[in-house]
């Protein structure tokens, strides 16, 4: 952090307040975390509408999921053109370390981003599959499910990147060229999940809802609709222990013990690795035509 940033940083009130009993992390420490990871998280936040998960009473208390605001006290946060999401107050966007720490001052724990940037909000630039364990699913099954999703995406010629969710699951991200609109991308992501469930019914289901998926995994493609969001890389999760969502190299996945392997407490050494496992992401942005044809999906 350079001096300008730190003097510019918003004041944190009640920095001593413990926000997570499990780890004993305070509001001040969480703000310091975001200040530290700003260079890593901002590339994932910049230019994208963001939703804030705020926990005024800390982890375990009531959570507020905020996508819109007519007015915000958060220093430096951007209120976007209301026309982007008609019928609502402006969407929010965090482009600077100041806004990031400002969000922490207003008890933000999690940051969730859209699959599109605000400049081209009609065309998603990534496709996300959220692998979250349902009842009766253990971590190893999640690991294997992610590997299988990777196999299928690879087979479709699609690049895939993985990160821990910081909670219980994994997020698989496919970087796209802005070619199709939301309906096509969401429809195709659904076709991929349906193909998975059809081919490996012993592991996957294509329907949401706990009744449909005891012991199985629903790779949530609903994250690919307009306005849907997923926890951003380096976002802290508002769960006991304060796990962090961390970009991974696929080779690292088999050795990882849990989706909350990294937390605000132990993230330190990982910061040196940073976004390196995802270095190839920008360069691998892909079109979807060939993959759609392979899967027999008509946009």
């Amino acid at each position: 952090m350079n001096d300008r940033m730190s003097t510019d940083a918003p004041r944190i009130t009640h920095p001593e307040r413990v926000i997570d009993a499990a780890s004993g992390i305070t509001k001040g420490e969480l703000a310091a975390y975001y200040q530290t990871v700003a260079p890593l998280i901002l590339p994932h936040l910049k230019g994208r509408p963001v939703a804030l998960v705020r926990a005024p009473e800390g982890v375990g208390g009531e959570l507020f999921f905020q996508k819109h605001a007519r007015h915000s006290d958060i220093a430096g946060i951007k209120l976007l053109d209301p026309a982007l999401d008609p019928g609502h107050d402006p969407l929010l966007q965090i482009d600077t370390a100041r806004a990031l720490v400002g969000a922490a001052q207003f008890n933000t724990i999690e940051l969730h981003t859209w699959n599109a940037t605000s400049r081209a909000i009609g065309k998603p630039d990534r496709m996300t599959f959220d692998l979250d364990p349902g009842e009766g699913v253990d971590w190893q099954q999640i690991q294997e499910a992610a590997l299988l999703v990777h196999v299928l995406l690879d087979e479709l010629g699609l690049p895939a990147f993985v990160k821990t969710s910081g909670g219980k699951g994994l997020h698989v991200v496919v970087p796209l060229r802005r070619q199709f609109g939301w309906d096509e991308v969401r429809g195709f992501s659904r076709a991929i999940v349906e193909h998975l469930a059809r081919t490996v019914p012993q592991r996957f289901v294509a329907k949401s809802g706990p009744r449909n998926r005891v012991g199985k995994i629903f790779p949530d493609y609903l994250r690919n609709g307009f306005g849907a969001t997923t926890a951003c890389a380096w976002s802290v999760r508002s769960r006991p222990g304060l796990g962090v969502s961390v970009p991974l190299a696929w080779e690292e996945l088999p050795d990882l013990g849990s989706a909350a392997h990294w937390t605000v407490t132990n993230i330190g050494p990982r910061l040196a690795v940073g976004n390196a496992p995802w270095d190839a992401m920008e360069g691998s942005r892909t079109t979807l035509g060939a993959a759609m044809r392979m899967l027999g999906y008509m946009p």
Binding site: L156, S284, T286, T287
Partner: protein, 326 residues
């Protein structure tokens, strides 16, 4: 073939091509046999618990963990050479994905003792016509193909035999695997020297003729198996049954079992796109039927991969300019 009645949906075991000269016929192999043998599971008679095996260290008698087992070859009495899994894997023959025909020999040139495991061969990727051409030619010339093929890391000698509408690939034993019979007390090959009189041969021929019939495999059944199954049915009907609860697999075993399975699932997923499946298969097939489409599974998919990679590098340029603008 008459076997197909109760067999489950055929599963592709191998994909590749029959190859000789400049001819190349994309085919898939399917298992031609299924084991119908009766399985007797062992149970503890006192508790009806299942009985299993343990690997033990023969010296200590204690169980040994899988990761502590290495593979050795006894090169002379009590003297071993230890080989790592990698060393063994490196010695595997290179998979060629071809049934490489080296010569065509008369159909009766191979003694029965050489025949080992049969596989059905079916054409894939519009190989049907050239497949039929080979089958027809073999039938007319009365020849079969002698081929080399690598299936699951093992190289085999095999005979490609036309049978009815199809071709069967019959794996053969290697010459070195057949024991010589020179030491057996066999009578002379010459009938006279063996002491046979012409009248005796006539009589025997007459007998054989009387007993001649067409062979129908359906006429023959494993009677032992039928007898056992009847016995089982009777006991079930009489309520003489036992409930056996399978214990939870041990940690190590379970993980490994699942590890093996995920490899299967990986292959299943990889194959799933090449074959097309489920409701949308029709669309997939029609796009694939285009001329210049895939000729043989693997190679086709690979080339799509590189095309995508090429596109990606242009995408990279576009992305970096975009980033500059942002």
């Amino acid at each position: 073939m008459a076997v197909s009645k109760k067999a489950p949906a055929p599963r592709v075991l191998w994909k590749g091509a029959i190859s000789f000269g400049l001819v190349h016929i994309p085919v898939a192999l399917y298992s031609a046999t299924t084991s119908q043998a009766i399985d007797f599971d062992w149970l503890d008679k006192r508790t009806m618990d299942p009985v299993g095996y343990k690997r033990i260290n023969k010296k200590t008698g204690k169980e040994i963990a899988r990761e502590n087992i290495v593979k050795g070859i006894e090169y002379e009495d009590g003297e071993y050479v230890v080989l790592s899994d990698k060393e063994i894997a490196d010695a595997y023959p290179k998979t060629t994905q071809t049934i490489e025909i080296e010569s065509f020999v008369p159909a009766n040139a191979i003694p029965f003792v050489y025949l080992e495991r049969p596989y059905y061969v079916a054409p894939i990727n519009r190989g049907a016509k050239v497949y039929a051409l080979l089958r027809e030619t073999l039938q007319r010339t009365g020849r079969i193909g002698m081929a080399r093929v690598v299936i699951q890391t093992k190289q085999h000698l095999a005979a490609l035999v036309p049978v009815g509408p199809g071709l069967v690939l019959n794996l053969l034993r290697w010459g070195a695997d057949i024991r010589p019979w020179t030491d057996l007390p066999l009578p002379s090959e010459d009938a006279k020297k063996a002491g046979l009189r012409e009248s005796e041969i006539k009589m025997a021929e007459q007998l054989v003729e009387d007993m001649s019939a067409e062979w129908d495999p359906a006429d023959y059944k494993d009677e032992f198996k039928d007898e056992i199954l009847r016995l089982v049915d009777r006991k079930v009907a009489a309520g003489q049954t036992e409930t056996v609860t399978q214990p939870e697999p041990e940690e190590g075993e379970g993980t490994e079992g699942r590890g093996a399975k995920i490899i299967d699932l990986t292959e299943l997923l990889q194959r799933s796109l090449r074959q097309g499946s489920g409701g949308k298969a029709a669309v997939t097939t029609s796009t694939r039927g285009k001329p210049g489409g895939k000729t043989h599974g693997k190679a086709g998919a690979k080339s799509t991969g590189t095309a995508a990679a090429r596109k990606r590098s242009t995408a990279a340029k576009a992305a970096s300019t975009r980033r500059g603008a942002a």
